[in-house]
């Protein structure tokens, strides 16, 4: 699946994209829109800020709901996606706002939740 899965990928929200330019990250968000070409989609984070995710190959399936993207942040502060998964919500909806709060905690206490 590529080298990016062998390295730490900090979990970030939209507001932290600028600090991670050129770096591998993990981003979780809700699908807001998908470009007709299928090579681009927009996710919103837990505080509603949007992140653009680009793909090298167009999507071969419909995506919706909560998506977790692994990729590299581009100079334009978009994410070049290497892989993604959809969070299951068949039994319970995912609380994206709570996840955002968790992100704040892990960034406040990196000693207790180290990436790498």
């Amino acid at each position: 699946m590529g080298d990016i899965h062998e390295v730490p990928r900090p979990r970030i929200a939209t507001g932290q994209l600028a600090q991670h330019i050129g770096k591998p990250v993990c981003f979780v968000g809700r699908v807001e829109k998908i470009h007709p070409t299928g090579k681009l989609f927009v996710l919103s984070d837990g505080v509603g800020k949007h992140t653009t995710v680009e793909l090298s190959e167009p999507l071969d399936e419909e995506i919706s709901g909560i998506i977790e993207v692994v990729g590299k942040v581009t100079n334009q502060a978009t994410i070049m996606c290497v892989s993604y998964v959809q969070f299951r919500e068949d039994k319970s909806p995912f609380d994206l706002e709570l996840y955002n709060e968790a992100l704040k905690i892990i960034h406040e206490f990196p000693d207790y939740f180290p990436f790498g």
Binding site: M1, H5, E6, V7, P8, R9, P10, R11, C26, I66, V70, V85, F87, R88, E89, K91, S92, F94, D95, L98, Y99, A102, I105, I106, F109, D111, Y112, F113, P114, F115, G116
Partner: protein, 232 residues
């Protein structure tokens, strides 16, 4: 004979990889760990006759090897291989062989509710913070992470995970002493003061009041004697 840690500690893969081993004991920043839980996504699954080898990825490092032994007597195969792309919670023991860390899992459960993944993140920070702080607080009583009952996290019963019980170091120390008291009338405030000579009587009383209001202890013959509500 070393005392094995009784806790099951939620961890990141990065913490497990960084754990230092002295003899048979693993430590993360001096905190002893043995049984751990990890939440991550299955990247790879390989079935062998006696075991299933998974690679579980939580984004904090490279995926970790997780081995689950298969009961070869089991005809139907209780161990169904979890497919790659599934988020799982793994409970198991940390192992190191030829300098490579891995987990031997006693339970691997696909997450049905992804909010458990978020909760696990919070539990990791909480657990490691409490464990390290307890190591640093000077006290005559060793820290104890008594289970406040079996936590219903994904349903693997029988193993108490680290309680998010919010007790301060003082409260924990008072509770541990009260728990250790075998006599029917329990432990008196005076006895607590004798044992916890560094703690003032007012601090002890505050701790007792809090523990009592939270239901950890109850008064027996009078307001000066307390027993623990946890059966030990």
């Amino acid at each position: 004979q070393r005392s094995r840690s009784q806790n099951i500690v939620p961890c990141t893969v990065s913490q497990l990889l960084a754990a230092e081993q002295v003899d048979e004991v693993f430590r993360i920043c001096d905190v002893e760990i043995s049984q751990v839980t990890v939440v991550g996504i299955v990247r790879h699954a390989e079935k062998a006759p006696t075991n299933i080898l998974y690679k579980v990825d939580d984004m904090t490092a490279a995926p970790m090897d997780v081995r689950q032994w298969v009961d070869t007597d089991e005809a139907g195969g209780e161990n169904v291989v979890v497919p790659p792309g599934t988020y799982v919670k793994v409970a198991g023991h940390l192992r190191s062989f030829q300098n490579k860390k891995s987990l031997v899992a006693f339970k691997i459960m696909p997450l049905e509710n992804m909010n458990e993944f978020t909760t696990h993140i919070l539990e990791i920070v909480n657990a490691h913070m409490i464990l390290r702080k307890n190591l640093m607080s000077a006290s005559s009583v060793p820290p104890s992470f008594s289970s406040t009952g079996i936590r219903d996290m994904g349903g693997y019963g029988g193993v108490g995970s680290l309680p998010v019980n919010g007790l301060t170091a003082h409260q924990s120390q008072v509770l541990n002493l009260i728990k250790s008291c075998p006599v029917p009338e329990g432990m008196s405030l005076q006895e607590l003061k004798v044992q916890l000579h560094s703690m003032s009587m007012s601090t002890i009383k505050q701790a007792v009041e809090f523990l009592s209001s939270e239901g950890h202890i109850y008064s027996t013959v009078d307001d000066d004697h307390y027993k623990s509500t946890d059966a030990e």
